[in-house]
């Protein structure tokens, strides 16, 4: 929808909404934020610079229904080209964050619309959380920055003492937002990177998931199943030949293959500790483990604990392991040589990582937290320190950084060019 149409729509809509009038019970809330994200690599350009107004409307429709609609009006100065004839709206985006209707029946809750659905008990790394894609280019303070809402139908059915069955249907696939890059050439051959091939826009390509949750002996647990597509692209590398069967170029084609995930998680507490675990078996498209371009079937699990050292300090530590199944690293290296990769460095069969978080409230209205993840094989790491200062009720300042570091081929080392600092001032109303 064009910007002008959206604006006209809101001009007619907003006067019919008043702030918490007794008759209509519509709440209008949101926030206004200024943000500056300078890149930490020379010459330190701004990756993001601008402001955002988020408007949220929510309303009860009796006791049986409600609606929620949230829109971002985002001004991103880095979009400006500086040309004289550039429209003032060139730096402006308007987009929905979440828009959904809730229906509350006796034992059944339904939510239909664009929404966030997050599963899993672990922190940051959730093998069972496969419904909403990530925007890895935009790790920042707000969830709507680094996660993408999807249009879905969600149903929660409650029965027995403590049982819940949750079903989700997502008609249309949305992948992770990942910067896709390719080398300029391989050997003497030029490389071209094609646009990703998405699953066809049809019913058969929809995603669905189900989760069964309950509690026993004060342990909350759940089992889940996801059927859909890997939101990470598999990049197929194929040579193109001329009429004389001579290779003329190498083609990189990102492709999204089917995926099934069988998962489970649990959480419980013991005194000042909480103990949690989450794991999943990923049944990928490469069931025999012979395709070097597609992830092997694998198991990933997370075991961790939270601990409240005091009222002011809380700690979290997690161990993460990925086990690649039907995997022979030596054979993988041979296959990568065959397709023209001169120095292949495929992952190990077993990959371990550690993650941690420390949260410290050092003054009445100020706190600092540091989140970190380190991959044990290459020693590459991600660090997210955030300082929060509450200037007044509803007015906060956030300062921090997203830091990637490690060897150039490693998962976090590859993202080192995206390391950035951030400063945000946010007023909520």
């Amino acid at each position: 929808m064009k910007f002008r149409h959206i604006l006209l729509y809101l001009i007619f809509l907003l006067p019919s909404v008043s702030l918490t009038t007794a008759a209509q019970q519509v709440d209008l809330s949101g926030y206004l934020k200024f943000f500056a994200h300078p890149n930490l690599n020379s010459p330190f350009p701004f990756d993001r610079l601008g402001s955002r107004l988020q408007l949220t409307l929510d309303r009860n429709l009796g006791s049986k229904a409600a609606f929620f609609a949230s829109f971002d009006f985002n001004v991103e100065e880095t979009r400006s080209t500086g040309r004289l004839n550039e429209s003032r709206a060139a730096t402006t985006e308007i987009y929905p964050v979440e828009t959904y209707i809730d229906l509350f029946l006796k034992n059944l809750d339904l939510r239909i619309g664009k929404q966030f659905i997050f599963w899993g008990t672990a922190d940051w790394i959730n093998p069972t959380d496969n419904l909403n894609p990530w925007d890895f280019q935009n790790i920042a303070a707000e969830i709507e920055d680094y996660r993408i809402a999807v249009s879905a139908l969600k149903a929660d059915y409650y029965f027995g003492d403590n049982w819940t069955v949750e079903g989700v249907w997502i008609p249309r696939f949305t992948p992770h937002k990942i910067p896709l890059t390719a080398p300029d050439s391989m050997g003497h051959l030029p490389v071209i990177l094609l646009d990703p091939t998405l699953p066809r826009n049809e019913l058969e390509s929809s995603e669905y998931a189900i989760r069964l949750a309950s509690q026993i002996f004060q342990i909350d647990y759940s089992f889940s199943y996801y059927h859909g597509f890997d939101k990470n692209p598999s990049v197929l590398v194929t040579p193109e030949f001329d009429k004389n069967f001579l290779p003329v170029r190498i083609v990189f084609e990102p492709h999204y293959f089917p995926l099934q995930v069988f998962g489970m998680d649990f959480v419980t507490t013991a005194g000042k500790f909480s103990l949690k675990g989450e794991g999943a078996y990923f049944l990928t498209h490469d069931r025999r483990g012979t395709d070097v371009f597609v992830e092997n079937p694998h198991i990933q699990y997370v075991l961790g604990s939270d601990y409240n050292l005091s009222d002011d300090i809380s700690l979290n530590a997690q161990f993460i392991q990925t086990i690649r199944l039907k995997y022979d690293r030596a054979a993988e290296i041979r296959r990568l040589h065959q397709v023209g990769n001169p120095s292949p460095n495929p992952p190990e069969k077993y990959a371990q990582s550690l993650s941690g978080r420390i949260h410290y409230q050092f003054a009445d209205f100020s706190d600092v937290q540091v989140i970190g993840v380190v991959n044990l094989r290459d020693g590459d790491f991600f660090l997210l320190p955030i300082l929060t200062y509450g200037l007044a009720d509803g007015l906060n300042i956030f300062a921090g950084a997203t830091l990637f570091h490690g060897p150039s081929g490693s998962p976090f080392g590859r993202n080192e060019p995206y390391s950035r600092a951030f400063l945000e001032v946010k007023f909520s109303f």
């Binding site: 969830i143 939270d306 009445d364």
Partner: protein, 262 residues
């Protein structure tokens, strides 16, 4: 004339018996009466929590609170923040268990998640205030030993004064308190003032109760001010629109309702 004479004798006898009874009540008996007075099955109300630091800076938190007794010694509580805007929608669910750890869940709308959180112990601060979870809950009678001190008046009302000491070291560790002195209104059997000592028996906090209201036959502290003498911080908790025995169903205190915006 005779009627007035015998009426007067009866009145005097009544006052003597009453004052003798009052004088004879032990600290334990007074606490028992105070804790076991008629209470509600469920309650709901609006709460304003005003936090003031040593520099006089204030933050105001508003919330809606629901509470229900599951058993005589276990309650469920659900609270939802309504202000300020940056915490609006944050909700907290507490399910007490007499013989095991309480269950605590936190819903953070910014993260769209319900998190099971570890206990910080009964001595942990409630919502970053100077009230602890122990302070806002119902004390267990046998966790403490009691000694009656000389009666004293508070705001013109005669009060029992009771000194409480932890029955064992675990209670002191869990609550953070080495001693508590309470002033309990003799007529209403509600605490109107308290003085808290830390485990080193240094004065730590004071509780003042500027307002007590009778709601459904029970005297309820609708305005409480807790001051931390050691840090200069203070917290005031005010209750509004309190309703009791509305028949809040047990399944209201579940993760299902924790995630609802209202």
């Amino acid at each position: 004339m005779k009627k007035f004479f015998w009426g007067g004798i009866l009145m005097i006898l009544f006052l003597v018996v009453y004052s003798v009874s009052a004088q004879e009540l032990s600290g334990y008996e007074i606490m028992k009466r105070s804790l076991n007075k008629t209470t509600w099955q469920d309650m709901q109300g609006e709460v304003e929590l005003i936090l003031t630091n040593a520099r006089g800076e204030r933050r105001v938190r508003k919330m809606v609170m629901y509470s229900r007794k599951r058993t005589p010694n276990e309650s469920d509580m659900l609270m939802r923040f309504t202000a300020p805007a940056d915490v609006k929608g944050t909700a907290f669910l507490l399910k007490e268990h007499e013989n095991s750890d309480d269950e605590r869940y936190l819903y953070l709308p910014a993260l769209r998640r319900v998190k099971r959180i570890a206990s910080s112990g009964k001595g942990g601060n409630f919502m970053s205030s100077d009230f602890t979870y122990y302070d806002i809950g119902k004390p267990k009678l046998n966790d403490w030993t009691y000694k009656r001190l000389p009666d004293e008046a508070v705001n013109g009302r005669q009060c029992y004064r009771i000194e409480s000491l932890p029955a064992d070291k675990q209670i002191a560790r869990d609550t953070g308190y080495g001693k508590i002195i309470r002033w309990i209104d003799q007529e209403r059997l509600v605490t109107v003032k308290s003085l808290y000592f830390d485990r080193g028996l240094r004065e730590w906090k004071t509780l003042d109760v500027p307002m007590v209201e009778n709601i459904a036959g029970v005297w309820f502290q609708t305005d409480m001010v807790m001051k931390d003498i050691q840090t200069g911080h203070s917290s005031e908790m005010k209750f509004y629109n309190v309703e009791v025995n509305r028949g809040i169903p047990a399944d209201f205190f579940t993760r299902r309702f924790l995630q609802r915006a209202r």
